[in-house]
């Protein structure tokens, strides 16, 4: 057996040893992470503040209505002056694709950036624990309070905290609901207790969910509930930069004695600050961990310590596996994975931009009558029946003129022209087309319907259907 293989093979004894050290927190212990200032701490507040859009967005007005409104009952999405109807929902697929791949590219380049800086679970938990720290004090005090028996003093600390948590949870629920209905009317309905059943259910679910997830389950959600935690974890490779412990520099670790360096000892002084600040209770020095949301708070903690003991910062830093092991690191744009992701993102973005700029006024669809496919008329011509549906996406009614191109000699029979395409809905018309039999040289021939608005030259649409005749 070669030396390399022997090194890689796993001994049964090792598994037992691992198991001995294996420590998994399944919610039995509450993690009270220390809060330390630092540049990643600041960055985290900055990224978390993007969620203010979630709270404030619904109150924006545009043209007399809510600027961004997802009107589910009427099946219309309003985004400023754009109105998106179910027919344009393919753009939603592209948007989802865009964000899915954006997540993939960022994860493969810089780890779980979403988890660590943007995820609602992380952000809400962060705010909840911030309140906890303000009201109950530092971690050691909190642990003491938690283990103390119930008393008036304890209640005096706990009640305001839970009240604040619930208030945030309810505000979250109202803000979510406000994207789907008029925000001001919704507030009024909630305050006067006259909101719809759906509104109350949404509020209850979000209040309960936020309170439970951010207040109690916290890192447990990332460990056991969240699928993205697992998905993102497998998107790493050895070139992904992550908050990582430089073990070559740090080991062998050992306590600092009287402020002097001990010969042969690494830079890690085993102060455990990196563990103390970790919101998910991970020890970064053990290597990449599924619980690590790459929030980089351990970097802040370690840098602060390194500064105190006059060692260079960056014992824990954003670095890739290859970098830490001294291997060459390829340039970002020379990594095939990044290029493929970027190509998909670009395609999706182009699609979305095209979609938004080419929404059009009309959606036209024509359904050919199937029973019967065609009817012989007394003059020997063949008649086909069509169900014409005009969707008018604009906010005014349009008179439209319908024409058809197809077999020579075709005669179009419609209700009185121009037809009226009613605003914001589908208007349907029964259309008959007659073609003299001698003009039919195939069982099926293409027939193109065209509509043109009488008022607006730019508003038109066409649809290709079929004209069916007897078998030749």
């Amino acid at each position: 057996m070669s030396e390399k293989l022997a090194e890689q093979s796993v001994r049964i004894e090792d598994l037992y040893d691992d198991l001995d050290k294996w420590h998994v927190n399944t919610g039995g212990e509450t993690i009270h992470a220390k809060r330390m200032p630092g540049r990643f701490r600041q960055l985290k507040w900055l990224t978390a503040s993007t969620w203010l859009l979630f709270f404030l967005g619904p109150y924006l007005r545009y043209d007399g209505r809510q600027a961004i409104l997802f009107d589910i009952p009427d099946r219309k999405f309003y985004i400023f002056d754009i109105t998106i109807m179910p027919q344009d929902i393919w753009m939603l697929s592209l948007t989802l694709l865009f964000f899915a791949i954006l997540l993939a590219v960022i994860t493969s380049v810089a780890g779980r950036v979403f988890c660590g800086y943007f995820c609602f679970q992380t952000v809400w938990t962060d705010v909840y624990t911030w309140i906890e720290e303000k009201l109950e004090g530092a971690p050691h005090k909190r642990r003491k309070i938690d283990s103390a028996p119930m008393s008036f003093e304890k209640l005096k600390l706990k009640v305001p905290k839970h009240a604040a948590w619930l208030a945030i949870a309810m505000l979250t629920g109202v803000s979510f609901a406000a994207w789907f209905t008029d925000a001001y009317e919704l507030w009024e309905a909630y305050v006067t207790l006259s909101a719809s059943k759906a509104a109350w259910i949404v509020l209850a679910l979000f209040t309960g969910g936020t309170y439970l997830f951010a207040g109690f389950m916290r890192e447990q959600v990332c460990f056991w509930l969240c699928p993205y935690a697992r998905i993102q974890g497998v998107m790493y490779d050895t070139e992904t930069i992550l908050p990582a412990y430089d073990r070559h520099r740090g080991e062998p670790r050992g306590k600092l004695r009287k402020g002097n360096t001990v010969e042969g000892q690494g830079d890690c002084i085993d102060c455990n600050q990196c563990v103390a600040v970790c919101p998910t209770g991970v020890d970064i020095r053990e290597g990449q961990h599924e619980g690590c949301i790459t929030c980089a708070l351990c970097i802040d903690a370690c840098d602060a310590v390194m500064e105190k003991i006059n060692k260079p910062k960056g014992l824990i830093r954003y670095a890739s596996w290859d970098e830490l092991e001294g291997k060459p690191v390829p340039k970002l744009l020379k990594r095939p994975r990044v290029l493929v992701y970027l190509a998909i993102i670009t395609a999706a973005a182009i699609g979305i931009v095209y979609g938004v700029t080419h929404l059009g006024t009309f959606g036209l669809s024509v359904v050919h009558e199937r029973s019967p496919l065609f009817v012989l008329q007394s003059d020997g011509s063949i008649q086909n029946k069509y169900d014409l549906k005009i969707l008018n996406k604009s906010d005014v009614d349009h008179p439209v003129r319908l024409t058809a191109r197809g077999p020579e000699g075709l005669a179009l029979r419609t209700p009185a022209q121009p037809l009226t395409a009613k605003s914001g809905r589908v208007s349907s018309f029964t259309i008959f087309v007659r073609v003299p039999r001698r003009q039919l040289d195939a069982e099926m021939q293409p027939l193109i319907f065209e509509i043109q608005s009488v008022d607006d030259d730019g508003a038109n649409a066409e649809y290709e259907s079929m004209f069916v005749g007897p078998r030749q």
Binding site: L19, S371, P372, V375, G380
Partner: protein
């Protein structure tokens, strides 16, 4: 391997297999126990709310009084409320007025499909496509007229035309052949028998273009009441007539009256629906 490596602590059931394999007495996880208790509580609540347990006089009815027929009736009432807006207008309007009102017309097109399928499609085919021996309703040839009032009348009172065999039993086999050839060529008047001995013109008109008042079809167009207009089919019709009680092999053509089975409103809806197949005048 050491005996000290049991990660679950010292508690075991006492059974030991294969020297060192023991079953640990760990309690089920907390979340699992919560799930277990939540489950039976849910079952209990469900069976309290909905009909469930065997009980004196049938079964326990549930505290909400829910029944499946009740839910059905509720749903039906909800649908009827939507339809009511249109249905309430129909009795007061004539079929022609419904036809002229685009909104009501649209409603009838959507809602009369079932009515047509249940009562008419068996003979006339879905979409009025017709069937062998039964007229197509989607074309522009009408035996009794394609105006909305005529269609209403056809459905209400039914129709039964009559054509005597052999032009009133007067034609010879050879004369029937000659007449059939002329009719099959959509040029009935080319045979002197049409206006002569056959007396066809009495019903089908001097020019052979039919008389809707009598249900006598136009013989000069491409639409045929029986068969595909071939010589044999035409000959059979002339030989045996239509609804001729003296000829056992006579063609049968009867549209039953629907006024006993359908309400006036239903008949109006059907008339509008049929009119819109494409042939209505």
């Amino acid at each position: 391997m050491s005996d000290q490596k049991n990660p679950y602590g010292p508690g075991t059931t006492g059974h030991v297999w294969d020297e060192n394999l023991a079953e640990a007495t760990n309690p089920p996880p907390k979340w699992w126990m919560i799930g277990l208790h939540a489950s039976w509580i849910l079952v209990l609540l469900y069976t309290l709310v909905y009909p469930s347990w065997p009980w004196f006089g049938g079964a326990f009815k549930g505290v909400m009084g829910w029944t499946s027929i009740g839910e059905y009736k509720q749903d039906l009432a909800a649908i009827n409320e939507v339809r009511g807006k249109y249905e309430n207008q129909l009795p007061g309007k004539s079929a022609a007025a419904i036809l002229a009102d685009s909104e009501l017309n649209e409603y009838v097109q959507r809602s009369a499909k079932v009515l047509f399928g249940e009562n008419c499609a068996a003979c006339h085919g879905s979409g009025g496509a017709g069937n062998p021996g039964f007229p197509v309703l989607a074309d522009d040839e009408w035996l009794y007229g394609g105006e909305i009032d005529k269609i209403t009348q056809s459905i209400t009172a039914g129709r039964q035309g009559m054509m005597p065999a052999r032009g009133g039993a007067s034609l010879t086999e050879a004369e029937v052949d000659e007449l059939a050839r002329a009719v099959a060529a959509t040029d009935p008047t080319s045979s002197p028998l049409f206006t002569g001995k056959g007396t066809c013109f009495a019903c089908h008109g001097q020019d052979g273009k039919g008389t809707p008042a009598m249900g006598a079809p136009d013989l000069t167009d491409r639409i045929w009441r029986f068969g595909n207009g071939s010589f044999e089919e035409v000959k059979y019709t002339i030989l045996h007539g239509v609804n001729d009680s003296n000829d056992a092999n006579s063609r049968n053509a009867e549209m039953p009256s629907w006024q006993q089975r359908l309400s006036e409103t239903e008949i109006k809806k059907l008339a509008v629906y049929v009119h819109q197949f494409g042939g209505g005048r």
